[in-house]
Symmetry: C2
Subunit: 334 residues, 2 copies
DNA sequence: TATTTTTTTGAATACGTATTCAAAAAAATA
DNA sequence: TATTTTTTTGAATACGTATTCAAAAAAATA
């Protein structure tokens, strides 16, 4: 039943040539006469020969594999990220090893797996990378790029949105729309996204002498947004706008507000971050900040290819802009 | 910068033993004296030695890699599927090669990639598998399991919900709730899920002498549901309930209905299929059919392991039940 | 202690490919 | 046609590991 896998040796025998020549044909080497090439391809087809990628990678030292580590694949933002990364990298011949990290920080076991398989690069989204992990990858010549995150110490390259600037513009927008009383629902407090978004937001409020910002902790999920909004509203009756750490939080917030019986944006304005597809669904129509996802992925892929071909290049940070997408969840107040 | 990767040979030299013995330690072989084992582990740690998975797989003929092919990762149902499959398989030491098929049918190129990497198994969800592709996998001793799909010819194993029976129960429920005028929004018409759900639904209606079923084509996306509902309602004023091919369609349908200005369930009842997380969000509160996702994944993994260890086993079909989850999108009519 | 049995060890080899190097064949030039 | 240059080819080898087999060492038994 389980037929033997044919090898380049089998093809060579059937075609009456040496294994080297078969290998040359499949490695795309041009120095093979048309006559033999044809014979070899015929024989290969007859045997349904497939080169063995593992044997090949042993010699070439190219595995054409990239690891992608995610923590929150159920967040539609990251589903989209995964899809786009796959499409870009597959087009370049790379294969994706998908790792769903269950913990906030990428685990020893997961690192080991990626090292054993000699991935050429690792993309880490939505997860933290310890300094020691980062060094481990570096020492093994594996390129690491953080996506939508960065670390202070700059041990690996990173591609992300300028969250600080975006949050400033969001705050300015809310203030100019006439809001007086502000809340922020955060993600995990040790993520760069949360830190920068809060920083920019708070700075604008401080500049304008607004000191009543309420901060409610969340973890970038619908459920955490829902719960945070409930607490927030029952505790602080006068909140008139909520800046949500990301869109999926915002959806939970909006649902909670409505369950309580308040109206959006009449009673409370809500603003998100990411511009996931759902935010434009009429049930939500969420005003939010769009991250230029496709561009971010393109930059990440480009940077990764560059670093793979030149391992000695210094870690690099690419910061992108994005823009406000105005829908109907923020009200112009008098 | 790019330091050489150390090999078992390097470890052997540092520890003063042979390469064979180092290999034995890392292959988990017990026949190594404690003294040498310790020396080897020390040396390995000092060099940060990682066995090379590709070289290993060449000998053992086990790659510990599984391919997972998906078409619609943006559908939250499949994000969840991916997450659960990853968690189960990672716990067993398997690695996931993720492939996002852009076409309805899995492509030659994608098959080749999986063959080249000698994956031990392939899980195909939400995509079609041609007969020739199926044979190709079989001939190479690669186990294929269809998830949430099956093919008529039974060339590979399949795990799915009894869609026919579920649709019958859904139809019965709608009839008994007093509905008179029915619509079905389908997925692609060549998928087994669509075929069986429509068949079961129609059969019950036929049995009860109801012949006014309107069928609107969709493709298992929010957008297709939205559009289908718009057309349906403007064309057929009297529809009083819509059975949606899956939940994400149902969400689009609900939004479209509300945009038009009708109320759910007062004017139109909506029922879905899958029970994705969003269907319980208060904005939707969708009555739907729950697929026993965790159980389906568990069965798939179990079946896959069995077929990997016994390649000569016959293709097997596992059909699961699921159950109706009643929320508030279906009305009891008089 | 002498002998037998069991455990540990290393040399040799294989997995399936790409590449180097030298030889052979073909093509280009004189 | 004879010579030089270029192209094609195959033998040998390497990538990094696991495993077989026989020998050596250790443990158990007489």
């Amino acid at each position: 039943m389980n037929k033997k896998n044919y090898t380049s040796q089998d093809v060579a025998e059937l075609a009456g040539v040496s294994q080297s020549t078969v290998s040359r044909v499949f490695a795309g080497n041009t120095n093979v006469s048309e006559k033999k090439r044809k014979k070899i391809l015929d024989a290969a087809e007859k045997l349904e020969y497939q080169p063995n990628a593992h044997a090949r990678s042993l010699i070439t030292r190219k595995t054409m594999m990239i690891g992608i580590v995610m923590r929150n694949i159920r967040n539609p933002f990251y589903s989209a990220v995964l899809e786009i990364f796959h499409n870009r990298l597959a087009a370049l011949g790379y294969h994706l090893i998908f790792i769903n990290s269950e913990n906030e920080e990428i685990q020893e076991k997961e690192i080991t797996q990626l090292l054993e398989y000699n991935v050429e690069g690792v993309i880490i989204t939505d997860a933290l990378l310890s300094s020691s992990a980062s060094q481990k990858f570096n020492r093994n010549g594996i390129v690491v790029i953080l996506f939508n995150r960065y670390t202070e110490k700059l041990e690996s390259s990173a591609v992300f949105c300028d969250n600080y600037l975006a949050a400033k513009q969001i705050a300015t927008y809310l203030v100019e729309m006439g809001h007086k009383s502000f809340a922020f629902i955060s993600g995990p407090s040790d993520t760069s996204t949360t830190i920068d978004r809060l920083k920019g937001f708070k700075e604008v409020l401080d500049d304008r002498g607004i000191s009543n910002l309420v901060i409610e902790p969340g973890n970038y999920t619908y459920e955490s947004g829902f719960k945070a909004a409930q607490e927030l509203i029952t505790r602080n009756k006068n909140i008139d706008c909520i800046f949500c750490g990301n869109d999926i939080i915002a959806l939970g917030v909006m649902d909670a507000i409505r369950v309580i019986g308040l109206k959006i944006p009449d009673d409370i304005s809500v603003i998100g971050f990411d511009n996931i597809r759902m935010s434009e669904w009429p049930s939500y129509s969420l005003t939010t900040w769009e991250q230029p996802l496709e561009d971010m992925v393109d930059s990440t892929v480009e940077l990764m290819l560059k670093e793979i071909s030149d391992k000695s290049s210094e870690p690099q940070v690419i910061m992108m802009k994005g823009h406000l997408v105005v829908r109907t969840s923020v009200r112009q107040k008098k």
